[in-house]
């Protein structure tokens, strides 16, 4: 089993005809994901990938035609909020927004709307979801993970791949990998994912990858100490980042005494989590 996506997921790609959209759609299809539709306004009626996937003008039309239940979004940042609203309004159960650079004011409105509708969002500014051997919704390379019983959740993008790759190199498999993204306001967080992994019978161990900024890791540590009985290993990026500098991610800013790597590491260790010195150590700690 797995969480969030599996072989029954009927995936729709918003922004399918863009450069990144079509590139990753091809990868998702190659991986075996059931990509049932694409959406690009104004291109309804076209087909992509040699006529394999129909393109529609809107999510609503695409859903009615194909029964899509999950949407992955590759549209440019300025259109991303509208794409998320559209997906939620059309009844998608799960929305994964890969797009980076979405304005925070847009995301506050999106979260408010999605919470009202009860729709789950992963991202934005995230690599998406991978359930090895079943499906991927996003941009995590499929060949760097094998099926197994380790649940991986991460605020970081490529750092996640490092961990997956390190696990695979030691023959360790993954139930689902969830890239939640590092933006200040986003959808699914560490706690949401930990809860799902704790409940998933096929997830035996959990890897949590955090980074400096905010207090999400500290909150996750508190949740783990209270509710998570499965072993958790972790890595926190940014020990050497100078304070006050914005390190790419909107979230990765160290301000005053909060958001520091050492505080996060201490909180996690206090919660019984083993914290690695570098990501390739994680397999040893599990």
């Amino acid at each position: 089993m797995s969480i969030l996506v599996n072989k029954n997921t009927r995936l729709l790609v918003q922004g399918i005809t863009g450069q990144e959209g079509i590139f990753h759609t091809e990868k998702m299809v190659e991986y075996g994901t059931r990509v049932v539709a694409g959406v690009t306004p104004g291109k309804g009626g076209e087909w992509v990938l040699n006529g394999k996937i129909p393109v529609f003008d809107s999510v609503k039309i695409a859903k009615n035609a194909t029964g899509a239940n999950t949407s992955v979004i590759f549209v440019p940042a300025r259109f991303a909020a509208d794409a998320m609203f559209e997906a939620a309004d059309a009844g998608m159960e799960l929305i994964i927004c890969i797009t980076e650079g979405v304005p925070v004011a847009d995301m506050m409105r999106v979260r408010n709307f999605l919470d009202q509708k009860g729709v789950r969002l992963v991202g934005p500014n995230c690599p998406g979801l991978l359930t090895p051997g079943e499906a991927k919704a996003g941009i995590i390379p499929g060949n760097i993970a094998i099926p197994g019983s380790i649940g991986v959740v991460s605020r970081s993008g490529t750092l996640t791949y490092e961990v997956l790759y390190a696990l695979k190199n030691l023959g360790l498999g993954v139930s689902t990998c969830v890239g939640i993204g590092g933006d200040p306001v986003n959808g699914t967080n560490f706690i949401d994912t930990l809860e799902m992994f704790q409940e998933d019978p096929d997830t035996e161990k959990i890897v949590l990858i955090g980074e400096i900024g905010g207090t999400d890791e500290e909150q996750a540590a508190e949740y783990i100490s209270k509710y998570v009985t499965k072993p958790v290993a972790s890595f926190i990026a940014g020990r050497t980042a100078p304070p006050g500098k914005r390190m790419g991610h909107a979230g990765a800013i160290v301000q005053g005494g909060t958001g520091l790597a050492e505080d996060k590491i201490r909180a996690l260790e206090d919660a019984g989590v083993k914290v690695a010195d570098h990501p390739e150590q994680i397999p040893e700690l599990l």
Partner: protein, 378 residues
């Protein structure tokens, strides 16, 4: 992106917040002319994007034209915390009776903007927040509903603002919320918001920070960017869509993804090296972008080795490899390079680099160790 006081206050003024009459000067004679026009006394304020301008002598009061000219010249000659003063704001001096604080920022955890007021204005508000948090009254704003009148009244009551100022305070709170929202700000604050001897409220100092991700909606504001706060390399990086921060070490880093870039810095340090920079080439990096990144890294004379750590997701490793090779043809350098490419199209990428006789590594630890050794000349 931080906005200068003068631009922040102009935006506030456009949203109905009373601000002192004043104007911007780039020379002492200009400052004198403005001062004469608005009348004495005036306050001459350096426009630099660092704190502690006052202590550094960057804010002075002038009682007459001669003083205005002299103070303006003195301030324009200053360099405050490494930043040259290129312009001064000449404001009519306010008759300050009371100083309060009013600001908005985003509360990540609540996913809402939060408006904060304090009777302890005019000082370092973060100090107030740390030492006497009860002196800061907070009020979350629903992003869909906007600020409500009763919220501004709750703030006014919370800071014991005398009732005769509630209406004026309410208008200012609304103006600040609108300024914040309309500009896609992540911070908008008035500190101090003063009550004058005449009983009027006036935004004497103002500060705004804008959401870089939303600047596409505010091209007029982006033009106000102060390039002094960024180093030349950081400006070039931004022009090329890269995220770059110069650090003190000798190992240049080119990495895709902020988390992996920080991790690369961490692991260099773990194995005894010192990173020269943070550099995230982001997703979908083209050969041009990679070449630009390499040039920026090599423009730092301290760099003794470069570590490329590319784990392909959105970024395709073959494009990265081509970018490195293209850049090396242009840049011509003897600095040793260690390249690690993993993920999407990694085999094609690594083949290209091996064909060009470059040093490659499989694991991050291996790459870091090789780079540290190369920087030490081993």
């Amino acid at each position: 992106m931080k906005l200068h006081e003068v631009y922040s206050k102009r935006i506030f003024g456009e949203h109905g917040i009373p601000i002192p009459s004043g104007d911007l000067a780039r020379t002492a004679p200009e400052a004198e002319k403005i001062a004469k026009k608005i009348g004495f006394p005036v306050v001459i304020k350096s426009q630099v994007l660092v704190g502690g301008r006052g202590k550094a002598g960057g804010i002075r009061v002038a009682k007459n034209a001669a003083e205005a000219k002299q103070h303006a010249q003195d301030i324009l000659d200053l360099t405050i915390k490494g930043l040259p003063v290129r312009m001064v704001l000449v404001d009519k001096a306010a008759d300050i009776k009371t100083e309060i604080y009013l600001g908005i920022t985003n509360d990540r955890a609540a996913r809402k903007p939060v408006m904060m007021a304090s009777a302890a204005g005019g000082v370092d508000i973060e100090e107030v927040a740390r030492k006497t948090p009860e002196k800061i009254i907070k009020c979350h704003i629903d992003p869909l509903m906007g600020l409500k009148s009763y919220q501004s009244r709750d703030l006014a009551a919370g800071i014991d603002l005398p009732r005769e100022h509630w209406a004026a305070f309410g208008k200012i709170a609304f103006g600040l919320w609108e300024a914040y929202q309309d500009s896609d700000a992540t911070l908008a604050e008035i500190n101090p918001l003063v009550i004058t001897g005449g009983g009027e409220l006036l935004a004497v100092d103002g500060k705004m920070v804008l959401d870089d991700n939303a600047l596409f909606r505010h091209l007029d504001l982006e033009e106000l960017r102060d390039l002094d706060v960024d180093q030349e390399a950081e400006i070039r990086a931004r022009e090329n869509g890269l995220s770059f921060i110069k650090l003190g070490g000798d190992i240049g880093c080119m990495v895709n993804g902020a988390g992996l870039a920080m991790t690369t810095m961490d692991i260099i340090k773990l194995f005894g090296g010192e990173p020269a920079n943070f550099l995230d080439i982001g997703g979908g990096a083209s050969a041009d972008k990679v070449a630009a990144a390499l040039e920026i890294i090599l423009s730092d004379p301290n760099v003794k080795a470069v570590l490329f750590n590319i784990f392909g997701g959105i970024t395709r490793c073959d494009l990265v490899a081509r970018g490195i090779l293209d850049a090396l043809e242009e840049v011509k350098t003897d600095v040793p390079m260690v390249v690690r490419l993993v993920g999407t199209n990694a085999s094609e990428g690594q083949q290209l680099l091996k064909d060009a006789n470059m040093e490659t590594a499989d694991t991050l630890a291996e790459a870091a160790q090789k780079a540290v050794a190369a920087a030490k000349g081993n």
